[in-house]
């Protein structure tokens, strides 16, 4: 569904990505692991286009989208749950969800989408009129995922969605992600620090290190290799 080939990008004159390639198969969970500062966030932002790629190629559903602006990629069904949430904290929960359906196609389906996210996250319905800034950390993370679902995506990229959450909530986030894949057929690219849970959820794994893909393979193989675990994952 998504194919990234030899992508290069960075900030100003500092290059962060040195040509990583990866592929995300339709209807699967692909996990991208790697230590802090490896360039995972930069890679997701480059895929979505909020950082302009310097070189390489991005293909989505057999169409080249390397330099397509972000809003057009959202139209094609690519969605991001960004690191650090980036919610509209002064807007209500409902307004945040409506913002998720900003694009015309998404707006047509807004009623169905709202029903869907309220059934996935009933607590958001209870807090409908509350400002997003007043929600707890866990509720805010759910709202961020819900806002991404409102864009009517085919593929969701999640950037450390369990960051800073209590263990019980972490499990809930992973359950939600697996549900999105299994029940709603969404394709998922998951960036996580939580290695164990990611290896359990994913069907294919990439490890990014200093801007390059160092290892890729099935989760069983990576779990089985003491070398890989020691060198890149610290477990």
């Amino acid at each position: 569904m998504l194919k990234v080939e030899n992508i290069e990008s960075g900030y100003g004159s500092m290059q962060v990505l040195w040509g990583p390639s990866l592929e995300v198969k339709k209807g699967s969970i692909t996990s991208l692991l790697g230590p802090n500062g490896a360039g995972k966030t930069t890679l997701l932002m480059t895929i979505l286009g909020s950082i302009e790629p310097w070189g390489g190629k991005i293909t989505y559903e057999d169409r080249e989208v390397t330099h397509l602006p972000t809003h057009k990629k959202v139209d094609l069904g690519i969605s991001l749950v960004p690191e650090g949430k980036h919610l509209f904290v002064d807007m209500s929960v409902h307004e945040n969800l409506v913002m998720g359906a900003y694009r015309k196609e998404a707006l047509k389906n807004i009623d169905d989408s709202l029903e869907l996210v309220y059934s996935l996250f009933p607590v958001l319905k209870e807090r409908d009129r509350q400002k997003a800034g007043t929600l707890s950390g866990g509720e805010q993370q759910m709202l961020t995922i819900a806002r991404a679902i409102m864009t009517k995506p085919k593929m969701i990229m999640l950037d450390e969605p369990s960051q800073g959450l209590a263990p019980k909530l972490v499990a809930e986030v992973f359950e939600t992600i697996q549900k999105l894949e299994a029940e709603f057929g969404l394709t998922i690219l998951l960036v996580e620090q939580n290695v164990v849970a990611s290896l359990n959820a994913a069907s294919y794994v990439y490890i990014l290190h200093e801007g390059r893909i160092k290892v890729e393979g099935n989760p069983e193989d990576i779990r089985g290799s003491a070398d890989i675990r020691e060198a890149y994952l610290g477990i």
């Binding site: 904290v89 900003y102 998404a106």
Partner: protein
């Protein structure tokens, strides 16, 4: 007697305050969306004043017609200024955009001087007056006030009820969040900048009703300072806050003039002119995050 004078001046201050409010809404909008302080703000007010003067004296058109003309000219200037200069500076250090807007302000002043000369000019739009027990109000000032409220309401409606206005609010709150929702953030930057300049040029039309012979290429600087003070009062990124703060500033300025005049031996006019400085000084003492600090 003093109360009559005070009531009269406060009435004029309130009417002028509406214009101040509109003049500041554009500054706040631009600061809120692209985080740039437009140091050349007042020069765009000057452009509006000259547009009004030319339409009135050369073409015999009323200031009412100058309002939409000013909006169109202002937005065109805003888009031009944005795409030629500002777009590249959004992510640059603050000093770069301060210098660029300062330079554009000077450019506008010198162009105006080249075309119109440095004389003070004015025009007289005679649409009658209202006689109150304590003061007389020219209808033109009342129309300017009504115009300012209409512009503020229009902006409020755009901001809170329309799709593009909501997109602007989302960019003010979190541009990265807006981007992942599919908002074309770069277009919102350009649009907000153009509307911000458009409103500012429109406020120049309204201002001419209060300065019978004050239209001059160098008139803008004083209004830049006032707009800064009002913007800080109003909370910097909130265009509505700016409007209400404008009303308050108009009242304080004109009330203070009356009171300064009571002090023997002082020149009330020059003291009032420095009032904006004093207000800015005390505001920054109370609010040390300063002009550039959000919230």
């Amino acid at each position: 007697m003093i109360f009559e004078l005070l009531a009269g001046n406060l009435t004029h201050g309130l009417l002028l305050g509406g214009v101040y409010g509109v003049a500041t809404m554009g500054l706040s909008l631009i600061f809120g969306v692209i985080n740039v302080v437009n140091v050349g703000h007042g020069q765009f007010i000057m452009v509006g004043a000259f547009v009004t003067l030319i339409l009135f004296t050369a073409l015999g058109l009323s200031p009412v017609i100058a309002i939409p003309v000013a909006l169109i000219i202002g937005m065109a200037l805003g888009f031009l200024f944005f795409y030629t200069v500002m777009r590249k500076l959004i992510k640059a250090p603050e000093l770069a955009s301060l210098l660029a807007t300062f330079a554009v302000g000077i450019l506008l002043e010198e162009l105006a001087k080249l075309i119109f000369g440095a004389d003070f000019r004015g025009y007289y739009w005679d649409v009658g007056k209202i006689i109150l027990p304590f003061t007389t109000i020219p209808m033109s000032k009342l129309y300017a006030f009504i115009g300012s409220i209409a512009i503020a309401l229009f902006l409020y409606f755009w901001f809170s009820k329309t799709r593009s206005g909501t997109a602007v609010r989302s960019v003010i709150e979190d541009s990265e969040g807006a981007r992942v929702c599919g908002v074309n953030v770069d277009w919102i930057y350009a649009l907000s900048f153009a509307i911000g300049i458009g409103i500012t040029v429109m406020s120049g039309v309204l201002l001419t009703m209060f300065i019978p012979v004050g239209i001059n290429p160098y008139m803008g600087g004083a209004y830049t300072l006032k707009a800064f003070v009002i913007a800080v009062l109003g909370g910097l990124t909130s265009p509505y806050g700016a409007f209400f703060a404008g009303l308050i500033f108009g009242l304080v300025e004109n009330g203070a003039y009356t009171l300064f005049a009571l002090i023997p031996g002082v020149a009330p006019f020059s003291l009032t002119v420095s009032l904006a400085f004093w207000m800015l000084f005390f505001l920054l003492l109370v609010k040390p995050t300063g002009l550039l600090g959000k919230k």
